[in-house]
């Protein structure tokens, strides 16, 4: 844990220095701008420049990081006193599987649409990480995105990404036309039917 405390503080200190440098930058179009000239408290009587506040905040971050490093050297913070690893085997594996799954989820949104990506992610999580029965996993990964689709795209018209043009034209446009022509009661019926199927599959899986 102590090494992680050091490494993190050093990375954050470097980030702070970079942000201090960036704060002193002028606008791209101003070729005569001199670096750091916008961090002053009072520029030509017009108050602090645009870099003033972020510069001193980044400086505050840098000072904090140095303080954290000193505390770590003197073993005064709990992580620097701890002999435990930053992440044990379980935590590292879990971060890899959950974090990796989330990143893959985001990549899939662009390719196969938000709702299909949700289905794939749920299936991955329930089958691979949760070890749930196949029937329950499949039904859940179909019902949850269906509910979200009805709620966001149909009821609230908050349209989510639809993947490639082909997927949008072939699946979502006809589906959208169908569901938007239904009454609110029918939408509620769709919610209820899919919920009942989910409950039945949960019961069947338990048995």
């Amino acid at each position: 844990m102590r090494r992680a405390e050091f490494v993190t503080a050093i990375i954050l200190a470097l980030l702070s220095v970079y942000l201090m440098w960036k704060s002193g930058e002028g606008p791209e179009w101003d070729t005569e701008y001199v670096h750091w000239s916008n961090i002053s408290v009072n520029i030509d009587g017009s108050g602090p420049g645009k870099g003033f506040w972020p510069f001193y905040l980044a400086l505050g971050m840098l000072i904090s990081c140095i303080w954290i490093i000193i505390n770590a050297i003197r073993k005064q913070s709990p992580p620097s006193q701890s002999d435990e690893p930053f992440m044990d085997g379980y935590a590292a594996k879990m971060l890899l599987f959950v974090g990796g799954g989330l990143i893959a989820f985001l990549v899939l949104i662009d390719m196969i649409s938000m709702y299909a990506a949700i289905a794939v992610f749920m299936l991955y999580y329930m089958l691979f990480l949760g070890r749930h029965p196949l029937l329950l996993s499949i039904v859940t990964c179909l019902v949850v995105p269906f509910w979200l689709y009805l709620f966001f795209d149909i009821m609230m018209t908050k349209v989510q990404p639809k993947g490639t043009r082909w997927i949008e034209d072939t699946i979502y446009n006809p589906a959208g036309e169908f569901f938007r022509s239904q009454s609110l009661i029918m939408i509620a019926v769709f919610f209820a039917i899919s919920g009942a199927i989910l409950a039945l599959s949960a019961r069947a899986s338990r048995q």
């Binding site: 009072n42 645009k50 506040w53 990081c65 985001l106 949104i109």
Partner: protein, 545 residues
């Protein structure tokens, strides 16, 4: 009399079917969110904030989305006790103290009594605080009307200083968290000069990067990283809040619980509930202390419900004739933190509504929501938008009643839900976080940023970096900078405007005390750890001598 009329009108509007319906849904959602381990009011409010854009557009009533979110806040305070008592795991940090005596009561077979005590104490705490809120809020907002830029900035400084002086976390890490949050709020276009800053890449560079990655020409209906400008749009508050509280906390909980949670079974019936209500006579002291102390701790910036509940538990135990019974299943030990966390949650709304300074991370999210809906929290809110303020206060009373009734009536249902495997709940939370962020901002760049913030927050949390100050700082960042720069502009760059009461601000020789007093309190709070360290050192030397 004016307040009573306004309150009466407010309660009447809060009782309108659409607002009442939203309050019921909000309370139920809040109870679930609060009961589920790893999720608290802030997670629920942050994840569900994007949904309120829809509520706002459907009802055209500015109070409706806020009534919904405030009801979640209330419900979560009630719900936290359910998992504390039956699972031994606090549903949220605000219910940590409830575990101390709630869990032993459950293990002794008194889970039903503990649950009822928690519900009734929560109701009393919430109601007492709402009465205080009704009395204090109009007065405080009328005082705050005279505040100028230096005063408002000084108050914000005080809010952050409280984190350092009283937060109890590692000081340099707290300071880092505050500065980082404030800095995130500066990304995008400068409000005063209108120039871009900290945007990292211009559009030409972005296109070059996407081309290198091979995703620039993807044939998608919504292209990869579709937003124009990326960081020049600024870092949206919800992106950080959902990242920290939706993704980061969930990963943290998965790692901490390792999917292994065992539950104490309990039977709830009408007779058992009645028995619990009669048993409240053994918990009056904890309820009273929690209700009063919770409210005043809740008002303090950066304090909120968690320290409120822990302090109330401590004070109740300290003043007890039998302190040894605490930790063994004393009903007062359940009532005190539960009354306090509900009372503090209402108390934390007071500075948020009247001064525009949130008292807790949850109220920071609520404040950000108000800004998104076109409201300006602060002293003028009571004068300019009474049609928003009073129905909201009215809804506090209504939501409290709904929460206690729903809580008592549906305890078996909540217990059933708590049996839901975490491996189903976790992906649902992840999915809601991602869909909600996209729904709020309509671009994938913010979704990517949210997930990266979440993973980063998890890693920083392992090393004890407090993240609540960063969330609060992102909310207050833009206003803090604006007030600081305007104050410095008026004083020709002289910082005395903040700390010297005799500084001639307006050329009339007038004395200004509020900003200097607030600033000096903030400075003392910031210096508090050093003062305490010196004090301990001197005392140590004295003892050695």
């Amino acid at each position: 009399m004016e307040i009573w009329d306004a309150l009466y009108q407010g309660i009447w509007i809060a009782l309108q079917p659409h607002n009442l319906g939203l309050a019921v849904i909000g309370v139920v959602v809040g109870l679930f969110v609060g009961a589920l381990p790893g999720l608290g009011s802030v997670n629920g409010v942050a994840i569900l904030l994007p949904f309120t854009f829809v509520i706002n557009s459907m009802t055209a009533d500015p109070a409706s989305p806020m009534i919904f979110l405030a009801a979640i806040y209330y419900g979560a305070m009630y719900g936290g006790a359910i998992s504390s008592i039956t699972l031994g795991i606090p549903g949220a940090s605000t219910a940590v103290a409830t575990t101390f005596d709630g869990r032993p009561m459950a293990l002794k077979g008194d889970a039903d009594r503990a649950l009822v005590t928690a519900a009734i104490a929560s109701f009393i705490g919430g109601t007492v605080a709402t009465v205080f809120f009704t009395g204090f809020a109009p007065f405080l907002s009328s005082v705050a009307l005279d505040f100028g830029n230096p005063e408002i900035f000084a108050l914000m400084l005080l809010a952050f200083a409280t984190f350092i002086g009283l937060g109890g976390d590692d000081i340099p890490k707290t300071l880092f968290s505050i500065c980082f949050g404030l800095l995130l709020a500066t990304v995008g276009f400068d409000q005063i000069s209108g120039e871009p800053r900290l945007v990292f890449m211009n559009e030409r560079e972005q296109t070059a990067l996407l081309t290198t990655l091979g995703v620039a020409d993807a044939e998608a209906s919504v292209p990869f990283f579709d937003s124009v400008g990326w960081f020049s749009r600024g870092i949206q508050f919800l992106v950080l809040a959902i990242g920290v509280y939706g993704i980061g906390e969930m990963i943290w909980t998965i790692n901490a619980s390792r999917y292994k949670i065992t539950m104490t079974e309990t039977q709830i019936s009408f007779m058992r509930i009645m028995r619990g209500i009669v048993g409240m006579k053994d918990a009056w002291k904890g309820t009273t202390i929690g209700s009063l102390l919770g409210f005043f701790v809740g008002i303090l910036p950066a304090a909120g419900a968690t320290p409120g509940s822990l302090m109330s538990y401590g004070v109740t135990k300290m003043t007890s004739r039998n302190p040894k019974s605490y930790g063994q299943g004393n009903p007062d030990g359940v009532a005190a933190p539960e009354a306090a966390n509900n009372s503090a949650s209402t108390g934390a709304m007071l500075p948020m509504m009247t001064l525009g300074i949130p008292g807790s991370p949850t109220t920071a999210v609520l404040l950000a929501g108000m800004v998104i809906w076109g409201l300006e929290p602060g002293p003028r809110l009571f004068e300019d938008r009474p049609e928003f303020v009073w129905p909201l206060i009215g809804s506090f009373y209504i939501s409290n009643i709904i929460a206690v009734l729903v809580n008592l009536a549906f305890i078996p249902l909540f217990l059933w839900v708590l049996r839901m495997p975490f491996t189903i709940l976790a992906p649902v939370i992840f999915v809601l976080s991602i869909v909600g962020t996209y729904a709020a901002y309509d671009n994938m760049f913010d979704v990517w940023l949210m997930v990266l913030f979440g993973i980063g927050a998890y890693l920083l949390r392992i090393l004890d970096y407090p993240l609540a100050p960063a969330v609060l700082a992102v909310v207050l960042g833009a206003t803090a900078e604006e007030k600081l720069r305007q104050a410095l502009l008026l004083s020709d760059g002289n910082f005395e405007v903040f700390y010297n009461p005799f500084f001639d601000r307006d050329g009339k020789g007038q004395e200004w005390w509020i900003a200097p007093v607030t600033t000096w309190i903030a400075i003392i709070l910031i210096a508090m750890p050093i003062i305490l360290w010196l004090f301990r050192k001197v005392r140590g030397q004295h003892n050695e001598a």
